[in-house]
Symmetry: C2
Subunit: 730 residues, 2 copies
Amino acid sequence: MARDPKHDILFEPIKIGPKVLRNRFYQVPHCNGAGSDRPGFQAANRSIKAEGGWAGICTEYCSIHPESDDCHRLSARLWDEGDIRNLRAMTDHIHKHGALAGVEMWYGAAHAPCMESRCTSYGPSQFNSEFENLTYCKEADQDDINRLEQMYVDAALRARDAGFDIVYVYGAHSYLPLQFLSPYYNKRTDKYGGSLENRARFWVETLEKVRKAVGNDCAIATRFAVDTLYGDAGVEVEVDGIKFVELADPFVDLWDVNVGDIAEWGEDAGPSRFYRQGHQIPWQQHIKRVSKKPVLGVGRFTDAEKMAEVIRNGHLDIIGAARPSISDPFLPQKINEGRIDDIRVCIGCNVCISRWEIGGPPFICTQNATAGEEYRRGWHPEKFPKKGSDDSILVVGAGPAGGEAARVLMERGYTVHLVDSAEKIGGCVNAIATLPGLGEWGYHRDYRETQLNKLVKKNKDSQIALGRKPMTVDDCLNYGADKIIVATGADWRADGTSGLTHEPIPGVDAGLDWCVTPEQIFEGKKKIGKRVVLLNCDCYFMAPSLAQRLRTAGHDVTIVSGVELARYMHFTLESPNLHRWLHNNHVELIGGAWAARAEKGRVEIYDVLGDGWERQYRGPGKLPRAENKSHRWLEFDTLVLVTGRQSRVALYRGLKARASEWAGKGIKGVYVIGDAWAPKLIADATFDGHRIAREIEEKDPQHPKPYRREVAVWGAPHMPGGKFEIEYQQ
Amino acid sequence: MARDPKHDILFEPIKIGPKVLRNRFYQVPHCNGAGSDRPGFQAANRSIKAEGGWAGICTEYCSIHPESDDCHRLSARLWDEGDIRNLRAMTDHIHKHGALAGVEMWYGAAHAPCMESRCTSYGPSQFNSEFENLTYCKEADQDDINRLEQMYVDAALRARDAGFDIVYVYGAHSYLPLQFLSPYYNKRTDKYGGSLENRARFWVETLEKVRKAVGNDCAIATRFAVDTLYGDAGVEVEVDGIKFVELADPFVDLWDVNVGDIAEWGEDAGPSRFYRQGHQIPWQQHIKRVSKKPVLGVGRFTDAEKMAEVIRNGHLDIIGAARPSISDPFLPQKINEGRIDDIRVCIGCNVCISRWEIGGPPFICTQNATAGEEYRRGWHPEKFPKKGSDDSILVVGAGPAGGEAARVLMERGYTVHLVDSAEKIGGCVNAIATLPGLGEWGYHRDYRETQLNKLVKKNKDSQIALGRKPMTVDDCLNYGADKIIVATGADWRADGTSGLTHEPIPGVDAGLDWCVTPEQIFEGKKKIGKRVVLLNCDCYFMAPSLAQRLRTAGHDVTIVSGVELARYMHFTLESPNLHRWLHNNHVELIGGAWAARAEKGRVEIYDVLGDGWERQYRGPGKLPRAENKSHRWLEFDTLVLVTGRQSRVALYRGLKARASEWAGKGIKGVYVIGDAWAPKLIADATFDGHRIAREIEEKDPQHPKPYRREVAVWGAPHMPGGKFEIEYQQ
């Protein structure tokens, strides 16, 4: 297919200082869990995007000095020769595919807790981080400021040596240059504080020095939160924002502009639950009015029409993307080839971000199971090894796991029958996408539905059978498939069993008319009363989403939560606005409490930590603490159970129980994936499906093959030519 | 000096299976942030204890298979040849000093979130982890059980190859073998569930298989939570506990016994705030009644008298220690040499543990600044490089930073004058140790006081000057010292400034009679009224400790907290019992709220997330959200301000302002450390003092020298002889 001429504008090259971007697709800095510590992971995860057509591809935030050590979270680092060597793997591989490599030089001040380096950081004034809460920086004096500026210069020279084409002075997300600019942090009274010119001084001086140091070897970019969203307590775009752009413009080759701060950076990386594509344009659009340089910005742009419009309207010159580039590294190529319906559209769930927020683990993507697996498992997002046998495969369940397994198996050339009792591909996603704000999560289903429908046309022996009677054990045994993959999903518990007590709640039974599970709410057959009590022991979206839905429908909703409500949504950056919603809509939250028993109309709740704080041994059969006297009754009309999930195990167990019959029926193996294996994130269920499809010929396809690891090797020092033996100071 | 004969019993060798422990000091498995991923850190941090006299030294929990991947937290791993190579560095270095090396083979089931490996784990029944909350395991069928048992066998063989002498089957802290044993997790109805014998089957079978596999090459240990503290919902020591010991005893060479679970493992690693030395003895003591094998247990044993008594009384055979061995790696040697007052006694603050709980960063120790720095910085806890010059050094402030700097400088042979206006060494610790439950934190001061008093006797030109008038800039400039170290500490803010708003709270002023800072409470001069409102924006112990103190004194206390109250105490395992205390004592907590302004008798508070959840650009000077309408007044008699801290900067700033005079006065440098540099943990202030004392001759003693890093090296594959290049599946 050919590119739609409307999208030509996206493919015009653009000059940024001494460099040229081949088109308008630009992967802004985003974390992936690789940094400079996992060089293969970093090189492969970034260079796959160069292969997929992106013109500029950046590291995540990259520390310029041990004083800015964000550990426990994982940043890249450009501290020494060892880091240069490791990051060069990334730039080399990006260059092979004709793209430019960028590095985001970062100094966090008090936002960087320095838990590895144990340094004390410097800021414009001494402040306590609102992001970290136990870390303070020192107020920089003039010596300190000189030293800080030199750190950027030295790191820029190392960046150049590592092969980077674009060097950022990173001042978004409340990091150092913005701290100087913003009166929220900067309380100085010297020439670095007070007036806009004074507050801008540190940033402008740093840009000037960096430019002088790297000359024409690198383009100079700066990432700038043009509005911190605090009104006049911080930076406002039409006040200090555009004025700063005017001041700094001569020293900048590329503006990367967004909004917000670090404590609520979901205002930048807006989850689809709250923000649509292009949600930052009302702020970003002001920059091109005053800058003579190219301007780029993010906004979870996934739609080629919207991207072209944003450029055509003069709001931005370049489309910045983090999440859409993770979800589909080949997005530019697909637009270029007119393959719009092959794009794996980012659903805006922010599960990628959650792993950075958790601190440490490699990132994952709900849509793209290969994200982060390029190096470790050798998975290319668009290329699949040819099938390793002529086995035919029955996949029972077309949800995230089964759908992805069938897709990848068919991509590999296998004959696949995908069977589901639902009328539509998508499994649990079909219901989830009806929850308030989660409509875009339906893209997960849409991608698989589109691809499977295409593939089944090419694979003449394959078929997709929807709306069928649920498959029985006998159905499967007699189906005639060589291998069977069970992907039957999971249910919410009907008896109140939770991770808190591992036991049912006495009296609770979703078979009764006053008790409902999420599935029963989706089904819509049970009447929900006016006063709803929602028992929650899950840390993610189901309980708050149902609370939103029921509250919007006019119910009075009280959530009794045994765990921190929506704790995981802190990691996905959905938490602050979710809590604002619940607050504004008068959803009552009783936290740290659980249910002892329930009966029609009332539930007995207690404070989980309401027992005695002094523990002593009192002999067998006796609890070691004082009795919990916090029990009280709470009245309701309907009790909603978001207490825990359980795999739908009947089919897989039934098949295993009859393993002795498999050989006689020509069955070589039966496997279980996704929620049917164990309830998990949609991202991990999708991964399960993808993985088993790639490893179906292995000896034990049920369990993942070992993956390639990147850790320190005893005997191989980090510093080239350095020592590794233990040596005590003498 | 010679050993006290009362302590001889601690130095008797003891046989454990095919091996002999040279004495009764045993470092049980504990985390340090090294695992198998930082082999030099691991080797040095463990072997320093072998040098210090410990007889057995273990890794932290060590994963036996990618299905038990605890990432984000950092465990050791014994998955492959690469791990064997890395862990061999540890065993080799331990053996050099004549100690035995142990490894704790670990499988976590649902408690291991597998965020790196993306595996699905197996457990006795499917359950949702109460520790992780979004992870579920699959209920193991017989095939799975066989596979799990074989994982232990295979890992044990790798452990033997890595040079380990002691191989654990780890069943404490709610991990897999205990999950099978405990009805809390095990709901099976087959031969692995139901009766005690059935529930014990998995564990016993695994022990038997491991023993058979390693033969006489290794001793077999098992770590067992003999009471899970749930009464009959879990394991009770005098019911299933001792019965299990009887069943498994033939297959075990060494019992390592404790109590509790993983969700509240502070019941095992009891913080001194709640638990005294030997607090687990009431449970542990039952084991020796039924076992024929050596029994060890922990209980933060730091006192040689108590240790000898525990063995003499037949409660334990071997003293297990984690925290005391971190705080003083030379504890056995010091007892052996009769140097009891040289022991750096663990204060039980659990800051070491906090880093594992946070996930990722290397551990630190409040008492022992060299913990974790053995490899990275080459710091030996008991040996110091000789002084590098004849410079005399003035240290202003004898708190954690200044006291430690003076100690280490004197150890190095420098002439030091340590000056403080207080009558006692210790700085802020003197006040902190008066807070409820924090008395043992005073050991931090005691150690430095004892050592400094000894050192000053040896260093005839050195002196300690306490109770002096506060040093002025002129005093320091004219003192005659070559170098000046400013360690003047920090204050709590008097105007309500916090990390939440970075601005004072209108109306708040600790100069008024109804407003008090923590320092003013310690001072005791201001009258505290009946109704106290405590404004908290700090995440650690000060606010809840003051609440305890004031509540105990009869005040009504309401905490208004803008941040999660005592969030850091979740990491130190103090949180659950602290919250029980606050609950039982009717301290009211208003969370997620902050103060807009205050006046005598009342404070206006608001919900931090009480503004609108929909954001839009409304132009300059306007907030992008709907107005926060949650403001309301709260009445009080006294308002306590735990809002934020600030460095006492006057002296350092004053000295820097007169830098031009330094040369004329013979001053070569002025430095700032500890809270005066930026407010920080006591551990980090102590580190600052230690570090500058070791680096005082460097060109820039103010800033730490680079340290040795251990990360993956591009080109050096983890698997010996493996590949490192990017390779996509074909």
